[in-house]
Each structure stands twice: as C-alpha cells, then as structure tokens.
C-alpha cells in the first residue's frame, strides 16, 4: 500500500450546539484520487477547511505528509494546492498576473516561476487569454483560471472543491482530463463534487460523508456492491397475469416484481445473467413481451441509498 498523504483521526468541529464534523476519520494515500461526496451541509467543506488549518477544530488529529498540520506549517502548505469552490482570483490583475501572483506565494525563483506559470496556462488552455482580465472571461474560462491559480506551483497534494460547478461539458471534460494528467504526473487528489458520474469516472476511491461522519468508503464497485438492488430489468408485457408475475418473482435472485404502466419492473439482488433467466422463463411460458431494458446501479443510487432522499438545505 502507498504512503499515507493525509490522516485525519476523530475530527470534531462544532458551531455552537451544531456538530458539523463528528469524529470523522479519513486516510488518503499517495497517488490516489479520492472522491469526497456528501449532501449539502454534510461537512465536506468544513472538513477541508480544518484540513487546511483555516478553521479551528474542537478535537482530533490531522497529519499531512506525516506531519501535524498547523496554521504555521508553511513547509506542508507549500506542497498543497487548493482549487476553491468559488472562484478566488484578483479582478484587477489579468490572467497571467493572477497565476504569477498566486504561484509567487510558493515559488520564489523568477525563472522557475515563469516556467510554471506558462505551463499552468497551457495546461488549462488559457495561453491565448493571458492579457484578459477575469471579468472578460466566460464562466468556463474563469473556472480554468481558478484551477491554474491553484495548481501552478506543482503541488504534491491538490484539493478540488467542486471545480466544475456551472461549467459547460467541454470545459468540464477538459478539467477532468487535466486532473487525471496531474494525477498521472504524481499528484494526490481530493475531489469533491455533486456530479456522481464525474466522481465515478475520476476517483479511485470514494468516501461519502453525511452529518459530519464518514458513512461509506470504497471504490465505486465496492460501494455499488453494498446495494441490495444490483440489477433492474424492465420488460413491456401486454399480459400481466397473476401467474406470470408470480413466476417471475420465483426466479433466482429476483426479490421484487412490480407493474409500472405497460411495463413490468423486476429487481434482482445479485447473480449473473438475470435477463437471460427472465427471458427464458417468458419464452417457456409462451408469454409475449415487447421492449426489454436492463439497468445496473449507479453511484447516484448508492448515494441516495446511504444519505436518504429527503431534501437538504
């Protein structure tokens, strides 16, 4: 197993009576992309702010690169890059100056910094917009500038806090590809998002937070395996007789059969080739059927299963 880059133990953060982070535990290993998921108010951003020593916390221990993280731990901070949820740039400086300014907070050598800034601009596709002020940039370009400011100094650990909010599919794709490249180049990444498909595509491991706690931890496949529903089969069935429905429910691994309009929905809790078994049964019984589709569970299903479907703030 790779070296631990981050270790958070028993982290507790309270705002008065409200417990924002409740004995949270997290380990992040060198070279992985960790997806940190959770509904609004689950404590993700608070945890990140504690991790970065921006927020005081009530209890717990945070270690980064094996050292205790403290506000004055500049040697650790120099190896971290943060891409904030909200765009954090200086409006009066142009694109190049913004990246140079924030990169300059980490890199003193002028020549090296110039090289890093050029690389960051090229990496985020902003080379042609060097002289543009942030107000002249589109939402997608602004997000890319936000990323360039956070990663120009080539950090070993990068934290992305919902970097693709309000970004068009092209920009989003470019951002995700960029993160993958940074990871291939050796950076460890923590990625928070509400877009499950992004997390599924990007992250090697996923942690789900709710009510300040670590409620699930594993790869996307491992998390999906925790669901009872592993496959949903939908069949257009003109004759929905009681005996046919009974027969379907008796197929191995089928745990639920229900009528949904013209279709019958069959839910399976595991097994292989469930669709073949269902279609074989209908053929054997001479039951006519129309269109057939099958759905495997998504990360979204896992998320809703774990965190519930009720609306959050």
């Amino acid at each position: 197993m790779n070296e631990k880059v981050i270790q958070i133990d028993q982290l507790v953060k309270r705002y008065g009576e409200n417990v924002a982070v409740d004995h949270f535990h997290l380990e992040v290993y060198d070279g992985e992309i960790l997806g940190l998921l959770g509904p609004n108010g689950s404590g993700k951003t608070t945890t990140i702010n504690c991790l970065l020593s921006l927020l005081q916390y009530d209890k717990g221990d945070i270690r980064i690169f094996g050292k205790e993280m403290r506000p004055e731990a500049y040697d650790i901070k120099n190896q971290i890059g943060v891409v904030m949820q909200n765009v954090a740039v200086v409006d009066t400086l142009n694109v190049y100056e913004n990246v140079d300014f924030f990169c300059g907070l980490y890199v003193g050598d002028k020549k090296l910094r110039k090289q890093y800034v050029e690389e960051a601009l090229e990496f985020t596709g902003l080379t042609d917009y060097k002289k543009y002020k942030p107000k002249k940039l589109s939402g997608g370009l602004l997000r890319r500038l936000n990323i360039a400011c956070g990663i120009a100094h080539k950090p070993k650990l990068i934290i992305f806090d919902e970097p693709t909010v309000a970004v068009d599919p092209q920009s989003r794709n470019a951002i995700l590809e960029g993160i993958k490249k940074m990871n291939r180049d050796g950076a460890t990444v923590i990625y928070t998002s509400h877009y499950m498909e992004e997390v599924e595509e990007l992250c090697s491991r996923i942690v789900i937070m709710d009510h300040g706690k670590n409620v699930a931890n594993g790869t996307a496949t491992e998390l999906k395996a925790t669901l009872m529903n592993r496959e949903t089969i939908r069949i257009g069935l003109p004759e929905k007789t009681e005996s046919v429905l009974q027969g379907l429910s008796e197929i191995n691994h089928v745990y639920k059969v229900k009528i949904d309009g013209d279709d019958v929905v069959i839910k399976c809790d595991g097994g292989d080739h469930n669709l073949v078994h269902v279609l074989s049964y209908l053929t054997d019984q001479n039951v006519p059927f129309g269109r057939v589709s099958t759905e495997l569970p998504t990360l979204n299903d896992v998320f809703l299963e774990i965190t519930g479907k009720e609306l959050r703030d």
Binding site: L54, L55, M84, A88, T92, L93, F102, L105
Partner: protein
C-alpha cells in the same frame, strides 16, 4: 515574497477605480471647489499679505516733521523676518505721473508729503487700508512726540525710545507669511485625503484574510507568512496614499497657487503621518470587521467624521469642540493633522507642533500593534 506581494498590491490598487476616484480625483475636485468658493476671499484676506507698491511725491512746502516720514517709508521698504517688505516705494516728480502710474495699476496708492501728508488710493482695499494706517500711525507718533517735547522735554528721549521699541508700523501688519485663514479648509482636505488610506487597508486585508474573501482563503492556505504579507500590502497602500497626498499638495501649491506657508516637505511629513494613522486604524477596523459591506462603509465614515470635526465643512467646529470637549481635538487624527499644518505655517515648529506629530505617530503604532495581535490568530472559529 515580501517584494512580490508589495509589487502586485501596488498594481492591484493602481488599477482600482475606487482608489483613483476617491483617493486621487475626489480631493482634487474638492480642492478646486474650495478654491472657487474661497478664492477671492483668500486673495483679499487680510492675512494674505503682499508687498504694497506705493508712489510718493515730496512737495516743496514739506515741513521738517513730515520730512521724517521719508525715513519711515525707507524703513518699511526693508524686508522683514519673513522676507517680505511692507512697501515698495517709487518717487514721482509730479502728481499727474503718479496718478497715471496708479491708474495703470503699477502702484496701489500715492503719498504726497508736504505741509500735510495726503494719501491717495485707487480703490477701497486691504492695501488702501494699510497705506492709510501707516500715515495715521506716523501722525499719532509725531503728535505724541511734539506734545511731549512741549510739555516734558526731559522725557522726549525716553518717549522716542519707547515708540521705537513698539515698532508699530510693523506690528500693526504682522502678516504670517502668505498664508490665509481659509487655508484651514485645505488643511482639513489634506487630512481627509490622508485618512482615506483607512479604506485601502481594509481592501488589502480583504484580499489576504481567509475570513473575508475567497482569494483571502487562497492566500492563507499558501506558504506565505500572514503578517509579512499584510505588511507588504499595507506598505503598498501607504506608498500610494503618499503619492495621492503629493498630487493634492502640488495641485494646491502649484496649480491653485495657494501657499501652505511652509516648505512642501513639511506638509508631506504631516500628511504621511496622517496616512500612517489611516492605514493603521483601517487595519484595525479590517481585523475586527467581517461584513464586506462594512469594510467599505466604516473607514469611509471614519474619514468623513474625523474630517468634519477637523473643520472640513464648518470651520468653527474645532473651536466649539476645543471649548466643550477638547479631548476630541487631541485624539482626532484629522484635527491633529490640520493643527500640525496650521501651527507649522503660523508659528513655526513649536513644541505643540511636535506634540501633535508624536500623538499621530503614537496612534499609528498603537493601532498597528493591536491589529497585529488580532491578525496573528492564524485560524478561525468560523469562515
């Protein structure tokens, strides 16, 4: 690191419309408005003194007593301590030539010295009053001496010595260089300009502190030291404020041609200290205030209220405060700046002048120390 932050903060501030508007243009506009409002009053101000050109004619019937008036005129054409002579005299042979010179505005009046001393002035003005006053004073002295000579000849020498010591001609016209009483409005304007730097401080802190902005969060998660970064930002702010002060000072002195009555570097020293107070008090405000709207409103209100109490809008307010609540004038930085400028231009570098400079410096140091104690807290209870 310090240098880079300083460099970028200068760039950032120089491109801010609000800074250019409030700290550079607004004082210039206000100075122009004051000049248009007070301009004529300032040049006619009895304290705004210029050497008066005067012509004189010595008639054939001049008496022995009045011939002594020529010595008085000679005395008044000598430069005083402030390098300004009261009169510049020209002798004319005849009345017509002198009147022609007066009509051509080459001289402000004419003395015709004969059996009596006749004064002719072109129009009612401060210069005319001065010329008349000189003759009245001379005649009073002459009459006094004649009477003493008649009644107490033994005391004549003593009386002459006393009158000579009194030096009434000069004392009656003790002009403090070329400074007008209306300059206090311009001093208050400079104080206001200097205190506008408080606004710069809050903006600098907004960009550096994580509890104030997103870019502040980016700043605080970086490897840059917080207090040194703030120091670099505030230094950039102070430098720009000093530049703004210089622009306003030069505009008043060289464009509006209103003399401060002291060397420019003295004015800049006082306004720099005033700006130091603005920067440090602004830093203290910025360290205490979290609401972004208040970060603008509070320093603006601070500058305006202090300036109001220093006489920016109403010249008498400072005297009223001095009578009813003098402590306000002792701690109001705008009043301290205007007092410093007034004292320096009127009385020179007196102990009171230095005392005010020390109070300004003490406020700056005190506010900076308090701010650094608050700002050195490196993480927050909430964001």
């Amino acid at each position: 690191m310090f240098g880079r932050i300083f460099y970028y903060k200068i760039k950032e501030l120089m491109r801010s419309y609000w800074l250019i508007g409030w700290n550079f243009l607004f004082p210039l506009v206000l100075a122009t408005a004051f000049y248009l409002g007070f301009g004529r009053m300032m040049t006619d101000d009895p304290e705004f003194f210029h050497t008066i050109p005067v012509g004189y004619i010595v008639s054939e019937d001049v008496t022995e007593e009045n011939a002594a008036f020529l010595d008085v005129l000679a005395e008044l054409t000598k430069e005083r301590e402030d390098d300004v002579a009261v009169l510049k005299t020209t002798e004319y042979d005849d009345r017509e030539a002198a009147i022609a010179a007066m009509n051509a505005n080459r001289i402000s009046g004419i003395y015709i010295i004969g059996a009596d001393i006749e004064t002719i002035v072109a129009k009612n003005s401060i210069s005319a009053s001065t010329l008349n006053q000189i003759v009245r004073t001379y005649e009073n002295h002459a009459t006094t001496l004649i009477n003493i000579a008649k009644d107490h000849p033994e005391s004549l020498q003593k009386a002459m010595d006393l009158l000579s010591e009194e030096n009434t001609y000069i004392k009656e016209h003790t002009f403090q260089r070329e400074t007008s009483a209306y300059m206090q409005y311009f001093y208050a304007l400079l104080a206001m300009t200097a205190l506008f730097s408080s606004w710069i401080s809050t903006v600098i802190l907004e960009g550096i502190c994580a509890n104030k902005s997103e870019s502040g969060k980016r700043f605080e998660v970086s490897g840059a030291g917080k207090l040194s970064s703030i120091g670099a930002g505030l230094l950039a702010g102070l430098l720009l404020q000093c530049l703004s002060n210089t622009v306003v000072i030069c505009y008043i002195e060289y464009v509006l041609k209103l003399s401060f009555g002291m060397p420019i570097w003295c004015v800049m020293l006082v306004t720099t200290l005033g700006s130091g107070v603005g920067i440090s008090v602004g830093c203290l405000m910025g360290s205490l205030i979290k609401n972004p709207a208040l970060l603008v409103v509070v320093p603006l209100a601070f500058s305006m209220v202090c300036s109001f109490f220093s006489g920016l809008m109403w010249g008498n307010i400072k005297q009223i405060l001095e009578y009813h609540c003098p402590i306000v004038n002792r701690i109001n930085p705008a009043a301290l700046v205007t007092d410093c400028l007034y004292i320096r231009s009127t009385y020179g570098a007196t102990p009171m002048y230095y005392q005010n400079l020390v109070i300004l410096a003490a406020i700056t140091v005190g506010a900076m120390l308090l701010s650094s104690l608050i700002l050195r807290r490196r993480n927050y209870v909430s964001l």
